[in-house]
Symmetry: C2
């Protein structure tokens, strides 16, 4: 059976930034929440996987903001799996206003890791066999390795953060949205005040844990795009690579 998750949210004050626009981390938190609920309907929720010795890992996420919802606005968020491959499952998100205007959409790619092997595995049959809804128009599948993942990276700015207790999820890993908070907070003050994100494209590479130190790096790519990288200080491993595109706000 196919399930489309539809949730209605009315924006709370703390979900909006200093200009009253919905913050990107707040929106990603809601997307994650709706995705969890949809996964539960499919019998592939976090708890279902944990029971079988597996866990979800987000590998790719690309969010496009068409129009920012604002404080007290009611939005409808839909999410559903689109395609299932040997190793990857793809999930789309759509956010619409009450009048149906498309405010944002996102595509994502997820993989499964085995807790015992501590590594990625082919999707187990109970996931592989699920039926995505057929009455939707899927976004293009994200490239597994986008161009910016392979391109040279010379940071023009580096900040250091220590992973705190409140950034840890029930898997004892840093939650996926915390990284986006850190990389946004490292963006130039001028950009944050005069522009807004049109698109953010993320590659998740390695997990990190409580008390890890992370280097939050960024480099200007073009007039309207910034590249980001988060590196684990101790291991030197890439945690996340990203590109954000900005427009006048």
């Amino acid at each position: 059976m196919a399930f489309i998750q539809t949730d209605t949210f009315t924006l709370r004050g703390y979900e909006c930034d200093a200009f009253g626009r919905m913050s990107i981390p707040a929106l990603m938190n809601l997307m994650q929440e709706s995705a969890n609920r949809n996964a539960i309907d499919y019998g592939i929720g976090i708890a279902d996987l944990a029971q079988k010795g597996f866990g979800w890992m987000l590998m790719r996420f690309c969010l496009r903001m068409h129009q920012y919802p604002r404080y007290s606005q009611t939005i409808q968020l839909m999410t559903y799996p689109t395609t299932v491959e040997k190793y990857f499952i793809h999930r789309d998100f759509r956010v619409v206003a009450e009048d149906g205007t498309l405010l944002a959409d996102a595509s994502s790619t997820w993989l499964v890791f085995s807790m015992e092997k501590r590594s990625m595995v082919a999707l187990p049959d109970f996931i592989r066999s699920l039926s995505p809804p057929t009455n939707v128009d899927p976004l293009p599948t994200l490239p597994t390795k986008p161009d910016f993942q392979m391109a040279a990276f010379s940071p023009t700015d580096t900040k250091r953060v220590e992973v705190g207790w409140l950034s840890i999820d029930q898997n004892k890993h840093v939650n996926n949205v915390a990284y986006v908070q850190w990389l946004l907070e490292a963006v130039d003050a001028d950009v944050l005040q005069t522009r807004e994100i049109a698109e953010i494209d993320l590659v998740y590479r390695t997990e990190s844990h409580w008390h890890d130190w992370l280097e939050i790096q960024s480099m200007d790519e073009t007039d309207s795009s910034i590249r980001h990288r988060i590196v684990q200080t101790e291991s030197g491993k890439d945690v996340i690579l990203a590109r954000s595109r900005w427009r006048e706000s």
Copy 2:
């Protein structure tokens, strides 16, 4: 006319900590949201005050956790003003489970500042004259200066943070809950993993702004209580003073 604000919330994954308990900052965010809505009903919302050249400032907040709500639980949050004095207005919060069990309660004290004078003023008449509900049992009014505000403070631990974009509210000030996040993240790993907050009592002293550097200080007070202080690095001013009480979790 008197208004009691009642909101129902179902806990989202990112509102819970690594143990699945509702996080204190998440609960405080919801309390703030319900308080805003209640203030709008009374015609004393943030926008109502701003229009007249005033702003709200939180001075005291004391939260008691009786039983932690958990992921996916539905809670009911009630808030209402209790007493109005020349300079202060007091507001209570009650959080109950679906079966009516009291999960948490909080009391708070607010003052009004004049944007022109940049200082505290007596409550304007349109606030002074409001009618708190009479069918409630108010918590004791918080002392304006609790004992820990005056006691000596010798920090045993200090961390530094820079105020980031996502901690700024629509007044361009650091939001009240961000401070609590910082002081909780500075608590010993062992305490965070084996105990839970029974009570947190906060005195807000000065506002801080984007890009300010803050010193997050703490000192063990007794076996089960910690004192906290946040100081603006540049001005040396106290931003917040607090005491948290902990119990086995």
